[in-house]
């Protein structure tokens, strides 16, 4: 079991009630008798609900026979139930430990800082209501499909069928994910860089603005997907056409928001920098761009959203690989479980990308913390 890895023994050892000698001194140097730690146990209802919910889900899956669906039984029903049981056991252990350590550590450390092990437990506590909700949703899904057949095949499939798809198709799904990511990466990189440079240029230089502004105004509002037939015709391959369209979709919001960010920088900042001896290049690099960066990120978020639309449509219509293509392909073969599997994968990938962008923003814009409410 993975449990040992999840709960680093060292993090907890000093507090274990079983070893009173070691628990005499906590990390903060305060004396905390072992008896105190034992008494500090707190029963957290929402923590304990999650193993219960997962056990219930396991019971439904294992004990309630599947409705016959006119073909051989759904595969992996037993594995799904057993997996749910294992998870329920993990949640139970975490709920038990969280009741012991999170509260106790919060009380014993003045700084409010927790040891790594207790942080894992605190994270579990925070996530517990969602863990419970997911079990409830999975159980409902399983009941509506496999158990009662209210939602019937081929359009609906039970959760266990997703396991089947992922186990049998993972090579192809992986391949599709890689292709989608590569295409998206190329397009977004080009679009982001070009849009950013264009935005800075328009915001900074009147001459660049004179030429770029009207073009941007005319081409920007066109939905890039409307250009799909045209670009597939002009570009040598559907791949390069898609890169171009994704770049276009990303570049427009990035350019507009970078431009408005640069144009909105307060004149006083430039005055200060100029009296300190700044060159024009320094003003762009060290004043205009950092001041506009929050806006640039807004543009990037919008650009990401637009690029997701374009790539899926492009893959559905012309590109012969990728998750969008997989969606149309599985629909063509009426392989609906495959479609659900691909959709879930896509949602995880795209939300992962957005999280990455959030992470980058949080790193680059630490200075905004405390000045604005995100």
């Amino acid at each position: 079991m993975r449990l040992a890895a999840l709960l680093p023994a060292a993090a907890f050892a000093p507090h274990l009630p079983a070893s009173p000698a070691a628990s005499a001194i906590t990390h903060s140097g305060q004396k905390t008798p072992a008896a105190n730690a034992a008494r500090a146990y707190r029963f957290v209802f929402s923590d304990w609900l999650s193993p219960l919910a997962w056990s219930a889900f396991a019971a439904v899956t294992l004990l309630w026979p599947n409705q016959s669906a006119g073909f051989t039984d759904w595969a992996y029903t037993k594995e799904l139930g057993e997996g749910a049981l294992v998870l329920a056991a993990i949640w139970a252990v975490l709920a038990f430990l969280a009741g012991f350590f999170v509260v106790a550590e919060r009380q014993s450390s003045q700084t409010g800082k927790l040891t790594p092990g207790a942080r894992v437990l605190a994270a579990f506590s925070r996530a517990a209501p969602w863990i419970t909700a997911i079990a409830v949703l999975l159980a409902l899904w399983e009941i509506l499909t496999a158990k009662t057949g209210i939602l019937s095949p081929p359009f609906f499939a039970p959760p266990s069928s997703l396991i089947e798809v992922y186990l049998e198709e993972y090579v192809r799904l992986l391949d599709c994910s890689v292709n989608t990511l590569a295409l998206l990466g190329k397009g977004v990189l080009w679009g982001g860089v070009v849009g950013f440079l264009l935005g800075v240029g328009i915001g900074w230089s009147r001459r660049i603005g004179y030429w770029a502004h009207p073009v941007l105004r005319l081409i920007g509002p066109l939905p890039p997907t409307a250009l799909l037939p045209l670009t597939f015709f002009i570009f040598p391959s559907s791949h390069s056409a898609s890169v171009f369209l994704i770049a276009l979709a990303t570049a427009f919001p990035v350019a507009i928001l970078t431009w408005s960010g640069v144009a909105g920088v307060h004149k006083h900042y430039y005055d200060v920098a100029r009296t300190l001896g700044a060159s024009e290049w320094f003003l762009i690099r060290r004043v205009a761009i950092p001041a506009a960066l929050p806006q640039v990120f807004v543009g990037l978020f919008m650009g990401f959203g637009a690029s997701f639309v374009v790539i899926v449509v492009a893959e559905m219509l012309g590109v012969k690989s990728g998750l969008g293509w997989y969606l149309t392909w599985s629909q063509g073969y009426a392989a609906y479980p495959n479609m659900y599997a691909a959709l879930i994968l896509m949602s995880l990938l795209f939300s992962g990308l957005i999280s990455l962008l959030f992470f980058a923003r949080d790193r680059l814009l630490v200075w905004q913390k405390g000045t604005v409410k995100w």
Binding site: Y269, D271, T275, L276, G277, R286, W367, G370, T371
Partner: protein, 281 residues
Amino acid sequence: MVNPTESPALNIPPEEINAAPPEFHARPYWASAIHVQHVSHAFPTPEGTPLPVLEDVCLDIRPGEFVALLGPSGCGKSTLLRLIAGLEPPLSGTIIQDDAPIVRPDPSRIVVFQDPTLFPWRTVRDNVALGLEAQGVLKKESARVDEALLKVGLENFAKAWPHQLSGGMAQRAALARALVNNPKLLILDEPLGKLDSLTRIEMQSELLSLWRKNGFSVLLVTHDVEEALMLAERIVIFSPRPARILSEISVDLSYPRHRDDTVLTALRHEILSRLGLGKNW
């Protein structure tokens, strides 16, 4: 340019001179002289007739001198400072620093604006380092940044973000950002205007001791007659817009000065009456 023994007109008591660091005596050799010669300026208006803001202003600042500008709000004081800083060219007349006309901003003349205008995306230390970075000497001279932070008492806030500073601390950081460049002329546009009266008094004496240690020339715009009297060697009074120089008053009083000094009280009456406020006193 100027012999240290004959200038500037600082009537420092002997014990004060002994207390001052050695570089104090060197200041007149390198501090800047400014000559504002018949400068007039106007701003374009939507109606087409330009708005005259400065009218034939002549003003000389000797090296190491502390000059204060007083005048009604909106008369054109900040405009004059912007011209001297080199941020804008005057419509007519010339402004000369030492022997060369001022045509563009230069780190030898540093402005501290009424707002601290710290860059919110830089830590306090990086804000103070801005000038050295812009001049491309940060690597060599980074010790000066810490020195400047020490001078204004912000050494423990080097890594803080500007929004974590109080108003007075932010203004001190802006002062450090100016001082780190070893300016020959420090241009201060109501730098203490927004501070509460206690912090203000504290900052005034800090400013005074910085000036006396470093020896740069200072041009200070203020709304506060008492502040001008406490700090400046010479006070220049402007008319309402368009600004003309109405009169100049020398404050021949040694430092540190005392607020209730009878000479200062008399001068305050004098200045207020020249500003047209005599009756209120």
